[in-house]
């Protein structure tokens, strides 16, 4: 089986990590050959650490175009632009989130990301909620669920959940402050609003972007092993995200004996059960979240109960090795399935495109309205400028004395111009 995963770059991120996990493990199966195809010009970190895998390659787009693959797989909406440039028996799309949600309403990428879901491809996804969404959007397309595994050698399940009988409640907040939908600062604020004794650790790859926050400890960037150690010293993983794919961090915490307090974000339903292995808090309710943390700080029996069940949940979760077996099975199934015709998804694509055009039209009409209003002001100003007193006043500007007299007013004029522009 010759497989190509299309990736934007090799920069380490959660999504890229998932692709690399699958690619490296698939490449170790007998008769499998896996290529990571870089759809952008190589930049940033180079490819290290997988040289020992002879059947895992990294190729640029030009090289990949000369090959023929059994399956070519897009892994991010922008990589679909290159997908059909490759020669392959089947085309698939590995979706780790409904990616248009990463963009705000007025960002052009939102439409682009949404449109790629209408392509004539087979889908593979990592979360049940994404599969359900896709089955509604694309009932004609096959969709295989391959949930992410866990690095069980790194996030090794503890034998027993550690006991924190009377120490401060140890809360861990994790996430990128660059992603608005992770709500990292809100989580830190909620933890700092606790009344009971607590210790808040923030794990963050970019401390500068985090800015000033109230936390006992800010660490990062750290390795997976260090993260696993940190989870083992944590009572509660606090996540208030509003967009998640498979929602991995609390599950990693579960493996190390931590429970969680989370928003009902997509992905939580895969393994988090309120009052059994974690607590689910409401959207935008920082006070309520702080009270839930206080409850865990006060009721150590409840804390231990949740942590014990969290660890049990973790034990039933597949490893990456097992997950990649499901991925291999899914790819073999896609190869057996008939290829979706070129028209598959075309109706949806055009409907979405039409919707996008209407939104774009709306924006243009709005813009034209603003322009008309601006023009009305411009015309009045032009009329005023054309009057003899104004023309006379303007003619005075060529005199140096007048220029010097007006100099103190320049900042005010600049500000006025900025306001009107």
């Amino acid at each position: 089986m010759k497989v190509a995963f299309l990736v934007n770059d090799l920069a380490l991120s959660g999504g890229m990590g998932v692709v690399v996990q699958h690619a490296s493990r698939l490449s170790q199966l007998p008769d499998w050959d896996v290529t990571l195809v870089l759809v952008r010009d190589a930049e940033g970190p180079s490819w290290h650490g997988y040289e020992h895998l002879p059947h895992l390659h990294v190729r640029d787009r030009d090289h990949a175009r000369q090959e023929h693959y059994d399956i070519a797989i897009a892994t991010w909406w922008e990589t679909t632009f290159t997908l059909f440039e490759l020669s392959a028996e089947r085309y698939a799309y590995f979706i780790q989130s409904i990616e248009d949600r990463f963009y705000l309403h007025d960002e052009a990428e939102r439409l682009g990301a949404g449109l790629t879901l209408d392509l004539p491809v087979s889908f593979i996804t990592e979360a049940g909620w994404i599969r359900e969404t896709l089955s509604l959007l694309r009932p004609d397309a096959s969709c295989h669920l391959v949930r992410n595994g866990i690095e069980k050698d790194v996030f090794a399940p503890l034998e027993h959940a550690p006991v924190n009988a009377d120490g401060p409640l140890r809360v861990l907040v994790e996430g990128s402050p660059h992603s608005w939908f992770k709500h990292v600062r809100e989580a830190i604020n909620a933890a700092s609003a606790m009344r009971e004794p607590h210790h808040v650790t923030v794990v963050c790859t970019d401390r500068e972007a985090l800015g000033e926050v109230v936390a006992d400890e800010v660490v990062g960037p750290i390795s997976h092993r260090e993260m696993a150690d940190l989870y083992a010293q944590t009572d509660v993983v606090l996540k208030l995200s509003s967009v998640e794919g498979m929602f991995g961090p609390p599950l990693e915490g579960f493996h190390r004996g931590a429970t969680c307090v989370v928003t009902p974000v997509t992905g939580h339903e895969e393994y988090i059960e309120h009052g059994w292995n974690g607590l689910i808090t409401d959207w935008d309710d920082l006070r309520g979240t702080a009270r839930q943390l206080d409850l865990l700080a006060r009721d150590r029996e409840l804390l231990q109960f949740l942590r014990t069940n969290a660890l049990e949940t973790a034990r039933a979760w597949p490893s990456w090795q097992q997950s990649s077996q499901f991925m291999a099975g899914a790819l073999e199934a896609i190869l057996r399935e008939p290829s979706p015709g070129g028209a598959a998804g075309a109706r949806g694509l055009l409907a979405d495109l039409r919707g996008g055009i209407e939104i774009y039209n709306g924006h243009l009409v709005e813009r034209a309205g603003y322009a008309r209003r601006a023009m009305r002001f411009e015309r009045r100003i032009a009329r005023i400028r054309a009057t003899p007193p104004m023309r006379f006043a303007q003619s005075l500007r060529r005199y140096r004395v007048v220029q010097l007299a007006l100099r103190p007013l320049r900042p005010l004029a600049r500000r006025l111009r900025r306001m009107l522009s």
């Binding site: 399940p157 049990e312 097992q322 499901f326 099975g329």
Partner: protein, 312 residues
């Protein structure tokens, strides 16, 4: 301490034996439908023999990692002529050999594979072998996996983890024509005549499908998948053994509680002693400091005294 019963014997606890019996019982209509039968991971054959009663298929292939287990299964089932194969089910050559035996025999093959997948380092070869066998040779497969989320501790013999999600992922790789069952645990009780001889009694089980938490998941696929039987089975509990374990646990708990209470008392007593001694020492300290003041010395224990400064 958990007792991991990876081989079912006559001495296995009834709660575990009955689970295995029931799985074979559900597959019995398929096994006895006339074609060859392969039991992958056959173990000692105790559960299969119990479920099949006196009937046996004509062509049987018994497969286990250990040859001794396959031989024991043949003896337990009373099928000396059965093919016995020892090997690893991740080995494609071994699977081809099993397939060859099944295809050569008359009738539609039936393959049972209970509680095996979780012991394999990879299930892909088994899957790659099973799908064409089902499609091209009318083979019907029945397999089961445990629900690891149901059990309280990690089974050290399992190489992969299974829950409802993983099972769902597995079944989506199987043909859409399939039967899926959940196996759930029961609690029961029976009334016997005072002087009753051994007997089989019919019981009624009330099942709440909505609230049922599965201990195992079963799936059958292939042309005869619909023959997979539903049902319930109960075995007499080993009350003697259960009572012994329960009493041991209870006595251990009492011991621990007592030990904890004694420790609490000791800690309370020592805390009180410490408090009294601290108060006593405080009085001494005050007295010593008064004496030191009269002598014109720095009070001992102070920073200046610790630094060795000469008060003179």
């Amino acid at each position: 301490m958990s007792d991991w019963q990876e081989r079912i014997t006559h001495e296995t606890a009834p709660a575990i034996r009955v689970e295995h019996d029931l799985r074979y019982l559900s597959a019995a209509p398929l096994i006895l439908s006339g074609g060859p039968w392969a039991d992958l991971g056959c173990g000692n054959g105790v559960a299969a023999a119990s479920a099949l009663g006196e009937e046996r298929p004509k062509d049987i292939v018994l497969v286990d990692l250990e040859e001794s287990a396959a031989t024991a299964a043949a003896a337990e089932l009373g099928v000396a002529e059965a093919d016995r194969i020892a090997g690893d089910l991740t080995d494609p050559a071994l699977l081809e050999r099993i397939g060859g035996l099944l295809v050569a025999a008359p009738g539609d093959p039936v393959i049972t594979c209970f509680e095996v997948v979780e012991h394999l380092s990879t299930f892909l070869p088994l899957l790659e072998w099973a799908l064409p066998l089902a499609a091209e040779h009318r083979a019907t497969f029945v397999l089961s996996v445990p629900n690891d989320a149901f059990w309280a501790t990690q089974n050290p013999h399992h190489l992969s983890s299974w829950g409802i999600g993983a099972f769902e992922e597995l079944t989506q790789l199987l043909p859409p024509e399939r039967t899926m069952l959940r196996q759930i645990a029961l609690n029961g009780s029976a009334l016997l005549d005072w002087d009753a001889a051994p007997l089989t009694q019919t019981i009624e089980a009330r099942l709440d499908a909505q609230r049922a938490v599965a201990s195992h998941f079963l799936v059958a696929f292939g042309p005869s998948h619909e023959l997979l039987a539903r049902g319930a089975r109960a075995l007499q509990a080993d009350a003697e053994q259960d009572r012994r374990l329960e009493r041991e646990r209870e006595s251990y708990r009492v011991q621990l509680r007592e030990a904890l209470a004694q420790q609490d008392q000791t800690i309370a007593k020592q805390t009180e002693e410490l408090r009294a001694q601290t108060a006593e020492f405080e009085k001494w300290r005050v007295y010593i400091h008064e004496l030191e003041a009269e002598l014109g010395r720095k009070p001992s224990g102070s920073d200046a005294a610790a630094g060795g400064a000469d008060p003179a």
